[in-house]
């Protein structure tokens, strides 16, 4: 999707938040902010928001000399999520419909996003998981189930560290032999990389690959050729988080976007209130005549 004008003040705020997160140096904060203003002043708005996110975080890493400034917070949220895993898994086992519960928990985990405005603390994350069923939800789980059953090759595009532990719960409800989990190719913000997939134990369940890119989304043109091929060949993509929605919602691929609508621009784009938990078939994909069907049947 294109970048909206209201994304631009938000980029500046995000850049400042990020600079303050990774450094105590006020001169560095100012430099990052001014750099981002210049980038934003000349930005091509036909690009998706993660294009700027990628530039901001490259600049931050360059200026701080830290290759992964969010490493510690990513570990912290992985650990927190792992602590919550047994309780969440029990809720899924006890649920009338385990797939629905796992889907809801995986979407709720998308609250662990350090790119949004409000500073995230552990208590907020904990409550978001406990109260998952109180949150507004938009999606047709039976359609999701049918899409999963019909697919031979499913790519699961993870979003953030911490969140990826809850993705594991959803992946446990999917046909593991047909699923490949995908993480970012390099550190950006608190997005999940291979280390986080391993911390979540995903590699014990499914193949884990990375997309070769350090954008906070899935900018296909910036991804590695092997990933681009996998993306083109997959018959179902499960894409977590706003960044993946922003970068893939115009692709004519068979994508289910699973995210919490955290900003007014995204909420307006999907026509739902801010805060809604969304499981949405790609608006750019046309289900073939006859609907989803398992290729093997």
């Amino acid at each position: 999707m294109q970048t909206a004008l209201e994304c631009i003040p938000c980029f500046a705020r995000q850049a400042l938040d990020a600079a303050r997160f990774v450094s105590d140096d006020a001169a560095l904060h100012e430099r990052v902010l001014r750099d981002v203003l210049l980038m934003a002043a000349e930005m091509d708005l036909s690009q998706s928001p993660p294009v700027i996110g990628q530039k901001i975080h490259r600049e931050l890493r360059r200026l701080t000399g830290a290759s992964d400034p969010y490493a510690r917070v990513k570990r912290r949220f992985n650990r927190l999520a792992l602590e919550m895993l047994p309780t969440c898994r029990r809720r899924i086992q006890d649920a009338d419909d385990p797939l629905t519960m796992a889907l809801r928990l995986a979407i709720a985990g998308n609250v662990i996003d350090l790119g949004v405005g409000v500073a995230l603390d552990e208590e907020t994350a904990r409550q978001a998981m406990e109260r998952v069923l109180d949150e507004p939800f938009h999606g047709v789980v039976d359609d999701f189930r049918a899409a999963v059953e019909a697919a031979d090759d499913i790519l699961y595009l993870a979003d953030n560290a911490g969140e990826i532990v809850f993705d594991r719960l959803l992946i446990e409800q999917l046909p593991a032999e047909r699923v490949t989990a995908v993480v970012r190719g390099g550190p950006v913000l608190n997005d999940a990389t291979r280390d986080d997939a391993e911390a979540a134990g995903l590699h014990e369940l499914v193949d884990v690959i990375d997309n070769g890119s350090d954008a906070p989304g899935t900018l296909l043109s910036d991804c590695s050729e092997p990933f681009q091929r996998r993306f083109a060949e997959a018959d179902l993509i499960l894409a977590k988080g706003q960044g993946n929605f922003e970068t893939l919602s115009d692709e004519p691929a068979n994508v289910y976007f699973l995210f919490k609508a955290k900003c007014p621009v995204i909420a307006a784009r999907v026509g739902l209130p801010v805060g809604t938990h969304v499981a949405l078939r790609s608006p750019a994909y046309h289900v073939p005549a006859g609907g989803d069907h398992h290729a093997g049947i």
Copy 2:
């Protein structure tokens, strides 16, 4: 006061809000926003925030060709405030301490500010006035009273249209012969100009002058020479609104700032929670030994 880094994303947002307020032309919105990003990227942060506000609104007027894009909304809020005037005046008359009540109402009127993030509607303004005593207040009214009694020459710097009608209620409690009301020298945002002072009937009570500047604050160096002289000669300044605080809080003059702390930067600067109604002696002014005393005594 200097501009904080977090003011900068806010300028971009304000510029976009303002552009959308004054025009339906998306290309103009984008142009204004990009211009402001470039200005902000090079801004001298030792300047106060209204320096950028002035530039943004000059640019808006230039691009739209409208000399006073907020004229209609200013009239609307003047009318609304005038409708509420009799009820408010009765509350002052019935109060145990009319000056306190008038001061509280004048500060509550500062909610009528189209520069802040949340779109202001009439109902919000109405409720802010009705529930004025429920709002947190920081100030020592007896000190304010003593400062007023001690002063021979009081300048009352108004802030916004609509709000200026409630300023009238406070001015009615002051020694009118010693008060001069001051408005902006030209239209900027919904700030009060001479037309608004007249709509509020201030000219029937006190002298009304303008400061010769179109900044959304009181940038002394940008004000007319006659106003600068009046400012230097006055022995008490009552300054409404954040813009006047931002531009005058470092002046060693005898200023009482009366405003609602609407943003985190200002709230932090005065050490109070966002939303607090503030009546604050200038931190840069030193009360002479012996305290305030009426020069005539």
